[in-house]
Symmetry: C2
Subunit: 454 residues, 2 copies
């Protein structure tokens, strides 16, 4: 895949050289000649990757990186720092201020392209999630989810079959993370592999093929999104490139530099947590869209959409759908006598009894106020009546508790039942019939179940 | 990136050969020896790509493909049909029953891998969106979004600088699609390029470099998600491979086969629309999570989360946040005298006036029932009072209309205003002060604005 790359260097020939290399590989290149310019262009152009020179007058690369990573508008854009050869301190410092990777001059073209490709993959995914997530925020009032978290205390699994080497990696990581060796996988706890946030895979193992293992982790549904750091022997550059191609997120050369290991791990964990936070934010918003806030039951909108689908299925030859509407008797009195908080207590406890009285395939919803609707797919009216009667009984059989002092209160409900079994049925007609039955139940003295008129 | 590939062929040596080739490239391989088995494994294993042999006893490849594409559980999995060499009819038929691509035996390994890579990219994206989208459905009652739409009548832009060739492509496509040549881009209408669903790029143009153009389309934010079909001269296999690598979704050889062109275009349009439908479904659900159903204003949950964020910003040194609560006077009478539908009419018209009286940065929300809240960031209490007074006036100044006969009704509202400017302020405290001010306004005779007690 191609991508848009922002090249930042104060020395124009350096910029032009990188630009030419990248354009030759069909990348789109944006250029900046200072840290200040880079910050502006990153925010306006939203590049997929930034190649950032360390040595610049004014804002140097480190400071530029720090600012880019501190701004929610740009913090998610991967940054590759470009350092002079063998400036180990620079590289470590770069990773520490939030850079995602570094390359040494003179730049190894193949490695450059492999890194850019790997990082822009991350960017594509985070852009997709960011776009969806932004819809749930709509306005710019609340800030974006923030990228810069600490990247510490992650559960990490080390896949290395040389015990001495594995132990060393674990010892180094233990200062900041929660590493485990393969042989200790039983210590993962009840969540098992779901608690792991990063896999470290050695490609020089003798009992397994590291690349194959990495590919396997990447292709399984359960571990597909897990970041992988490969450890590759210094002279095996092709293996490192291959690893990136297979979807390994980063690699580190052996002999291991301890600081570099810690820094790369932290970056990977940070990136992982950012993507997961985006996913979670989207999922939570999606959940909210179908949930009643007070009770946790489904909301009216969701109920109506599901009822519509079930009626359409019935009309295509499926089973009838039964529906009940339950209304708490004399609920207004509860509010008037004990206040709204007591009313909310009753609504909540009613919901709990309601939810526990139905089958997993039934859909329990709050219709609004003190009215509840349950949709029962593939259910005949006579069965629906029994279920409704069971609900009525469970409400009337034991008192409710309200307020801090848990005062007891007798509560009853009236229930109307209808069935969607007609070609012309839409949610409105079925709900209307249930509502009429409910009205009859109220007229007949409440605390009872009535079916729709035949 | 690696992937999980389901290989289907009744001839075991064929399966083993493909398995070996794919495993050598670190793909995970699942195997099936009949169409029936393939259908089961596709549903249970959710592979990223299916390689499906055409010639099988029992269910042949076409029938298997048709069934896989008809089942919402598997319809999104890309299928590559494997046909005998030069069976042109087979290839066209394969595309017509919904296959995403085909390969001829003996299989060209490099092409195989390029196709698998390209299609599994699509699968990864659709899996991500499907997972998010599923959260908004929660239960399996409503079926998944369906993949199989017709793939017709799409706006297609043909980037080909040889006029004769361009015209021919256009003529062929015009029977099923809405193609335009580059030179006709001004006919795109008001939506402009946003209405385009597919780009066809010739790689043998003389006035532009087709690969570079494709890469550019792929890397720009506005066109990043647009499918691209490359037209490649028959003997330029490397160009075709390169195109797939750059993110082109499919290619077709020149000399063009008209039926193949139509079939490939249809498949690409279908895939595009599926992904867009997933995006839209997620976005709509996200929208619903923050919206009041009756009025389209923000809902209470969203209002509270935004107010919380704004108060925190104020406490970190930001500006004060003003809040107003507006309550429709004697609303219960409207419901009692004219019915709930009339009540809803009033609520809706009230919302419209409310929304039109505020600045873009203000957040107008329905708090519940006949109560509304407006959050005004960076607004001093005296300005908030003015705004509230303007709202009160706009409600009282002109009558509301209810029912089918558009009967006129005088409506007024009372408004309480508060400001969040204290270190200890949380949404509850600020809303409570506004509510107390509202109470005073009601006590003093309604149709007036009151500020919180100093």
């Amino acid at each position: 895949m191609t991508a848009r790359v922002l090249v930042v260097d104060d020395v124009e020939p350096n910029v032009r050289l990188l630009e030419a290399k990248l354009q030759h590989e069909y990348y789109t290149v944006i250029t900046a000649f200072s840290g200040e310019q880079a910050i502006v262009k990153a925010a306006t152009e939203n590049p997929d990757v930034i190649l950032l020179d360390v040595m610049m007058p004014g804002l140097d690369g480190f400071e530029t990186c720090k600012r880019l990573k501190a701004d929610p508008k740009t913090s998610h854009i991967p940054i590759i720092m470009v350092t002079a050869l063998d400036q180990k301190e620079d590289r470590i410092l770069g990773l520490k201020v939030g850079a995602d990777d570094f390359l040494s001059k003179p730049i190894d073209d193949v490695l450059l392209l492999a890194r850019v490709r790997s990082l822009s993959r991350f960017k594509t995914l985070s852009d997709e999630l960011r776009t969806r997530e932004a819809v749930g925020r709509r306005f710019g009032v609340i800030e974006n989810l923030h990228y810069l978290e600490d990247g510490l205390s992650a559960r990490i699994l080390i896949l290395e079959d040389d015990n001495r080497r594995g132990e060393r990696i674990k010892r180094v990581l233990a200062s900041e993370q929660r590493p485990l060796l393969m042989s200790e996988a039983n210590e993962l706890g009840p969540e098992g592999h779901a608690s792991v946030e990063l896999m470290i895979v050695s490609t020089s193992g003798t009992s397994f093929d590291g690349l194959r293992l990495a590919a396997h982790i990447r292709s399984q549904t359960a571990t597909r999104n897990l970041p992988i750091l490969a450890i590759v022997d210094n002279h095996e550059r092709d293996k490192a490139l291959r690893a990136l191609e297979l979807g390994v997120n980063d690699f580190i050369d052996r002999p291991l530099d301890e600081e570099e290991l810690l820094a790369r791990v932290k970056t990977l964990v940070r990136r992982r947590r950012y993507i997961e936070a985006l996913r979670e934010s989207v999922d939570q918003t999606m959940e909210k869209a179908v949930t009643d806030q007070l009770t946790g039951l489904h909301n009216r909108r969701y109920m109506e959409s599901q009822l519509k689908a079930l009626l359409e299925r019935m009309q295509r030859g499926g089973q009838p759908v039964s529906v009940l509407i339950a209304d708490i008797d004399h609920f207004k009195r509860v509010n008037d006598l004990f206040g709204h908080d007591a009313g909310d207590d009753v609504i909540r406890q009613f919901s709990e009894r309601l939810a526990s009285n139905f089958r997993p395939r039934d859909l329990a919803c709050r219709f609004g106020g003190e009215e509840f609707v349950v949709i029962m797919p593939d259910t005949l009216p006579e069965d629906a009546m029994q279920i409704a009667e069971r609900l009525r009984h469970s409400i009337a059989a034991a008192p409710f508790y309200i307020g801090r002092n848990r005062e007891q209160l007798e509560v009853t409900c009236s229930v109307g039942v209808s069935v969607g079994n007609q070609v012309s049925d839409i949610p409105e007609t079925v709900l209307k019939r249930a509502d009429q039955a409910l009205y009859s139940a109220k007229q007949c003295g409440r605390n009872r179940v009535m079916a729709q008129a035949a």
